[in-house]
Each structure stands twice: as structure tokens, then as C-alpha cells.
Symmetry: C2
Subunit: 252 residues, 2 copies
Amino acid sequence: MLSKNTVKFIKSLQQKKFRKQENSFFVEGTKNVTELLNSNFNVTYLLYTAKFAESHEAQVQASGAQKYEVTPKVLASTGSFLSNDSALAVAEMKQNEPFVIQGKELAIALDDVRDPGNLGTIIRIADWYGIKKLIFSEETADIYNPKVLNASMGSFTHISFFYTDLERYLKEISLPVYGAFLEGENIHRQKFKSEGILLMGNESNGISGKLASLVTQKLTIPSFGQAESLNVAVATAVICDNLRRNSTYKEI
Amino acid sequence: MLSKNTVKFIKSLQQKKFRKQENSFFVEGTKNVTELLNSNFNVTYLLYTAKFAESHEAQVQASGAQKYEVTPKVLASTGSFLSNDSALAVAEMKQNEPFVIQGKELAIALDDVRDPGNLGTIIRIADWYGIKKLIFSEETADIYNPKVLNASMGSFTHISFFYTDLERYLKEISLPVYGAFLEGENIHRQKFKSEGILLMGNESNGISGKLASLVTQKLTIPSFGQAESLNVAVATAVICDNLRRNSTYKEI
């Protein structure tokens, strides 16, 4: 039976302090839980309803987690959702290990993207465009925040990421660094290499001064109207679409 | 002096029922308030801090609204923001009047987009891409919801919109209707006319069955990775970017 202490433990993981202390996080909902169970994350607890068990029998059985069949009411009171009639899973956080960008690879670097919804949406976008590596500045929102994971719709399990001093990191690499600026080159008229790092900036301030000088190609999304800017996740998607269309572009 | 009744009246406008009853809505923050003051909305109340008055003296003076200089504390307790050191304004809602799409014009139709943040972000995207007309199904989120207006970053003042029975509306027009489907044509390889209606669907269900048959050109955003879908606002932006790049496309 699910103990009060376990519920308390899971609830505490809504706070970064406790996630760090326990080296654990949780996800909720069918999509995120099934993606987590399919991933190489070490799942430690799995709470699920009878309904979820019925439609995901094999996955539930295969999981080495501590398993509890519970009511939707228990799920809702344990996690962050107002209602949840499927599942909730706890897993261990991954080590913060830097990786190398190699070959013809695109990566995304985020300079202090602080809104959890934006970070999660950007992860989903990266996954859509086949960008598997993301590098976050220390001040970027915590990927293990439930709001980030929910907005990512399971895509957090398909990417690699680490948090680092972006200035030092970008100084050490020799790849093209793309960044969005108001006075950059029109992305509709550019050809792009298939490798490089797309650097996206903070919601209010854009790319910080110390990183702007490390951008090798300044880009602009052309505007046809009056809005002064686009949301950072939206801008990321439009730029990724333009970076990726490059190869198909020649075939038109 | 600002009366308790006025504060109560403004607070009540967070609820759709009272907005409808009072034919009024409010916006908060420098960007939204200044855009509202610059628009043809009839502003009835203007609450502002000394700081806002200093940096927007001419606008405050020119406004025919009932004006009150207040503290940030009063602004925060009256509106929906946790903190607000600039301004809040109340205005009259516009009549829900259908308009005609004419000439070489692009419009966006939303089929039950229910999340206020998504609707506001889509309005900002439409404004960025110079799309001035939006048509909403009856079940689409209320544009006068503070969350919609905040996410629109003032762009709601640059567009025309009305709520209607989309099925009837789309049946009556003779323009191309673009819609995003998983099995549509790759947007990277299409040429588009400069007129038409981009139809975007509900967050969970996409474009409803009764409207799908009215789409004349089914489009797909090509995927390069594993994510199953994109958020509706993100998809709207990527499609608008592809619709608009058409003209510049020839010049590359």
C-alpha cells in the first residue's frame, strides 16, 4: 500500500530544493509516463489507475519500479495536476554531464530561458526537428520542474542536455553559432550549414551581451506586421524550421 | 479617489460572466495599456503609478478615461498580476461583427483553441506575420480573458476578430482553406496563394471532423525527430512563416 511518507516524498519533488536533495523528479499523465517508462531513466515509483494498467499492461509489468495501483483522486492529490486518471512516475535525475557536438549536428543553447512552459515547449520543438542536444545556462529553468516536463510532452526523454557556463562553453567550440537579433540576416534568404548551435535568449532581455559577441551568424525572422517580437519558443520553432528546410530546399 | 466599488467592478472582469454583463474588460502592464490607449477601443478607466505617469505623460493626459494615480500595491490587488508597477486600463468590448476577407488577404480561423495562453500567443504571431483578421469558433477561449490579452502583448489591438459558427462561415466563402494534418502536403515544398484562411484546430483533437472536409489544402509541417506533434501556437507560427516566405522565396 502507498504510504503517507511516499506521498509526502513525491509531493516534495515539486520543489527544486527537494528534487536536488533526493536526486529525483516525477512526471504525470499518459504521454509523459509512457515515454519515461520507454526511456533509459531509472524509474523508482509508478502510481497508476486501473484504467492505465488495462491499456498499458506490458509496460506496467516490465517496470522495475515500486508499483501502486491508486485512484485518480490519490494521483491528483500527489502530483501537480488538478485531475489525473492515468499515472504518475518518479525517476532519478541524470548526471549533469557535458557532451560534445560532433559531425553534422545541430544543437540548441538557451541563455537564461526562465519560464518553465517555454523551456518545455522548446524541448518538444527540438525533438520535432530532430535536435537531440540542448545546452542550458545555469539560470535557465530547471528541466525537472513538473511544468517543464508537462509542456515537453515526453520529449525530454529523447534529448540530451546539461547545464553549464554558456560563455565558457561557446568560447571553446569552433562551430557556427546562430542567434536571433532584430538586426540580423533574414532567415528566409539564408542557407545554413547542417551543423552548429542555435542560441536563444532570455524572454525579456534576449541574448546577453557577453554571449552576443560569440554569435557567428545573426539571424532575424522577417516581420510582416506590427508585433515587436515573438515568444522565445515560437521564435525557436520558426528558426529550426528554416534551418532544417535547407536540405529539402534544394529539391524544390 | 478610487472607490472600493470601482476596484470590485474591475476585479469582477476577470470572470467572463461579468465581462459580458458589463461589456468591459481590462488589461495590465505597460505594453498592453499603452497599446490599448493607442487603439480605437473606448477606454473607461485608467489606473497608473506615478512612474507610469512620468514616462507616458502625453498618453495619460490625452486619455478620456476616468483616471486614478495609484500605488503598485493597489494595481496588484485590483488586477491579475502578482505585481504591477505601471498601469491597468478598463475598456469596452467590441461588437461581435462579422467581416469579409477580401483581395489578397490571409486570415486565421481557430477551431476551439481553448487555452488562453495559446490564443494570446496566436494573436501575437498573427500580428507579427501581418495577418489582421481572425475568426474564432464559439468554443475558442474568450479573447477578453486577461490571460489571452497578456499573452498577446498588445497585439489584440492590431487585429479584427469575431466569434461565429465556423462550419457555416467556411461553407459560405470561396477562398483556399489551409489546415494542418499529419497526412498533408509538406509545407516546405508548397507554393501558396497570397489569399486564404489558415484553419488551426483544438489542442487535443486538432481540426474537427465537420470542418476537415472544408479544408481545400491539407498541410504538414515536416518532422525530423520523434515528437508526435507541436503545440498549436508553435504550429501556427511555422505555417505562417512558410505562407509568408512564399513571396520572398522567388527572390532568393
